[in-house]
């Protein structure tokens, strides 16, 4: 039976930990917390230690942290309405820019695969796109107010300039650039409550979402002229919900992460547990079947807020919780 083995617990944060994020090389883990700090963790010998604490970037909770595709920059989103861009040089982190403009709490920040675009989302219901100029300036390229409520998360497609966001309005929206500005080209409605997180699979043709309605949904992309005969409009592809995982989670599902090597999905749940799902061998893309591979009940003593697979060590997993702790896990087949 597959199982999750605890590797280590990383103590340091003194308030709930909101997000765990691996660097592209997999060697560093960034975490952020209600204690207004960002911690960078790395391995020294066989031991995981806290390498740096970034304390002076934000005046309120740091809700989200993420690395640029090149690994040289870190972006942090905070309830203080700002995003801070940090530059990493010889192990030292220096704040090089503050992105201001959101009206209130910024919930997430994400880098496009090209590294030249950043997207942010906020409780002010808007999604912003920022362009990185040659001299490390960040200019607002678009402000999209498609959602009717708090936007919880925003994420770029792994290889196309397509952006996805999800919200307290229970929907997921997809955006692309069209005639001088960015516009929403599809709204995915199927969840019955807040959609907390979304993530793409390795190919970018599937999207997974998790919600306050205790379910996980898988969405499949259908390109124009697809052989299944799904109707599309113009050059836009259409995304359809092809699978709903219900009955597994006892509370809201706060985070979901797709392993780009093994294809496994991991979820973080308000019932303090971590679950890993795998796709069945006979599954097909139009009606995929996922099974629960393993569950760790009481992985943390409170809500699990975030989970993330290491991009280079496919069976290494990080999680964090309202219990102020960060944990590393090994997935054993």
């Amino acid at each position: 039976m597959p199982r999750l083995e605890e590797v280590t617990t990383l103590d340091g944060h003194i308030d709930p930990v909101w997000c765990v994020s691996w660097s592209p090389s997999g060697s560093l883990l960034a975490t952020c917390s209600g204690d207004k700090t960002i911690r960078i963790w790395g391995k020294e010998g066989e031991k995981w230690i806290c390498k740096t604490v970034l304390t002076d970037g934000h005046t309120r909770t740091v809700r989200y942290v993420t690395w640029s595709p090149c690994g040289r920059y870190l972006a942090s989103a905070s309830f203080d309405a700002t995003v801070v861009i940090w530059s990493r040089k010889e192990g030292e982190f220096e704040s090089i820019a503050t992105l201001e403009g959101h009206e209130n709490e910024v919930k997430a920040v994400t880098w496009a695969s090209s590294g030249s675009l950043i997207a942010t989302c906020s409780r002010d219901k808007s999604v912003w796109i920022w362009e990185v100029t040659e001299d490390e300036e960040f200019e607002c390229a678009s402000v999209m107010s498609s959602h009717s409520q708090d936007v919880k998360h925003v994420i770029w497609h792994p290889n196309k300039e397509i952006l996805a966001s999800c919200s307290y309005d229970d929907t997921i929206k997809l955006y692309k650039e069209d005639n001088d500005d960015w516009t929403c080209f599809q709204t995915l409605a199927s969840h019955d409550s807040t959609v907390w997180k979304i993530c793409f699979d390795q190919s970018g043709s599937r999207l997974a979402s998790c919600s306050d309605d205790k379910t996980v949904k898988i969405w499949q992309e259908y390109l124009p002229g697809n052989e299944e005969g799904v109707v599309t409009h113009g050059t836009n592809s259409v995304w359809k919900c092809v699978c709903t995982l219900s009955g597994y989670h006892e509370r809201a599902v706060y985070d979901i992460n797709w392993n780009h090597v093994t294809g496994h999905l991991v979820t973080a749940c308000g019932d303090d547990s971590i679950r890993v799902f795998g796709e069945d061998a006979e599954s097909n893309k139009n009606e995929p079947k996922f099974s629960l591979m393993t569950v760790i009940n009481h992985a943390h003593s409170q809500d699990v807020n975030s989970v993330s697979w290491n991009p280079k060590i496919p069976n290494l997993l990080a999680s964090c919780s309202d219990d102020n702790q960060v944990k590393l896990w090994r997935y054993v087949e």
Partner: protein, 480 residues
Amino acid sequence: MASHFSGALQLTDLDDYITPSQECIKPVKVERRPGKVGKIRIEDDGSYFQVSEIGEEKKLEKAKITLNDCLACSGCITSAETVLITQQSQDELYKVLEQNKIAMQNGNTEERKLVVVSIAPQCRASLAVKYNLTLQQTARKLTAFLKNLGVDHVFDTNFSRNFSLLESCREFVSRYRERENNKTALPMLASACPGWICYAEKTHGSYVLPYISTTKSPQQIMGSLVKEYFGKLKGQRPDQVYHVTVMPCFDKKLEASRSDFYSDVFSTRDVDCVITSGEVEKMLEKEGINLADVSEMSLDTILSNVFGEELVGHDGGGSGGYLEHIIKYAAKELFDLELQNIEYNVLRNKDFQEVVIEKDGQVLLKMALAYGFRNIQNIVQKIKRKKCQYHFVEIMACPSGCTNGGGQIRNDPDETANERLTRVNELYKSEKTISPFDHADVKRIYDEWLNGTDSEKSNSLLHTQYHEVEKMTNALNIKW
């Protein structure tokens, strides 16, 4: 309900968990009466009665939120929409016209109000495209339509825009000359767009407001002209004149409601009511009239931008041409350069354009157009970091500027919104133009009524001020 406001205003809607009617956190003043409070009874019709201990009943007043309350509050802005609809709409105009009829029937000529409608050129273009008319036809037919309803005079806000443009030009040059001693003299930011002003006051306050031009918008200068100048000509007090403007934008309703444009002496506003192009279309529908079928009527020329029998506009695009006029005037005044054609360079997107005037490789003047919220952001952030290199920025909240205002008539189903906008812009641009410096009537009004340019009277009637709205913080607003 979808919001009609410009993007800048929509973003300042702060709360996301409560529906607009419950969202309002504006404290309402309650007059407390001495004595013990008894019970409160709610009637079937929703009215409240206070019942004292001895059984006396007293109907309680409803708490009312006015547009002015909304303007002074840093909370939501979109929920003001219901307030707007009850306070400024075509129904209000109909009400006044009806009251006028009743006053005349009863012989109360004293109570009859002089009704004046001032129409913005962007609205004429929108209505002209909708009904397949020329701009001149539209102006004459609208005059006829409104006068048949009982309106007394129909004017054109291109006329008051002459004053806005002249004052903006002079203000810029004096700010430029002050730039060494006054750190907030430049960049000067345009002031005609109320969506932008409201956003700046509510979210950026003290560090942006000093840069905004103090020149009033064409709508508000028209307000002064109609109530003070024209009213006097007609022997009417400001409160005996009912002034309606037709505007391409809902945010103009908020502008008209500002306390800066309210006369305490006469308890009246410079602009009593603002209706949009779309609301004029609704009036035509209500009357069962196709504007194309209305016979034309000659224009009221006294406060209209006419040359001969024809209406004329201004150079420099669908948002008023502030940059174009300022850069030409400044080049002449400051550097003795006669600019003929202004070259606009498109930067990040079509709503962000730049004009640079160089001489011998040196930049003399650098100005920009920044339309839409995304471009406003970059300007505001640069100002905040003291890195804005422009001398003047023509800022408008709507993408594509005023011809694309939220109050304009929607596209028909057989064309896209973009195609409609292109047609409106082409028609708008087809109008002949005049330089405000060459306008004989404008000169005359400066001399006769304003005591010349830069006089105390012209400064007080043609300029205004801005107010920082303090942020309200409420612990209940914190959400994960």
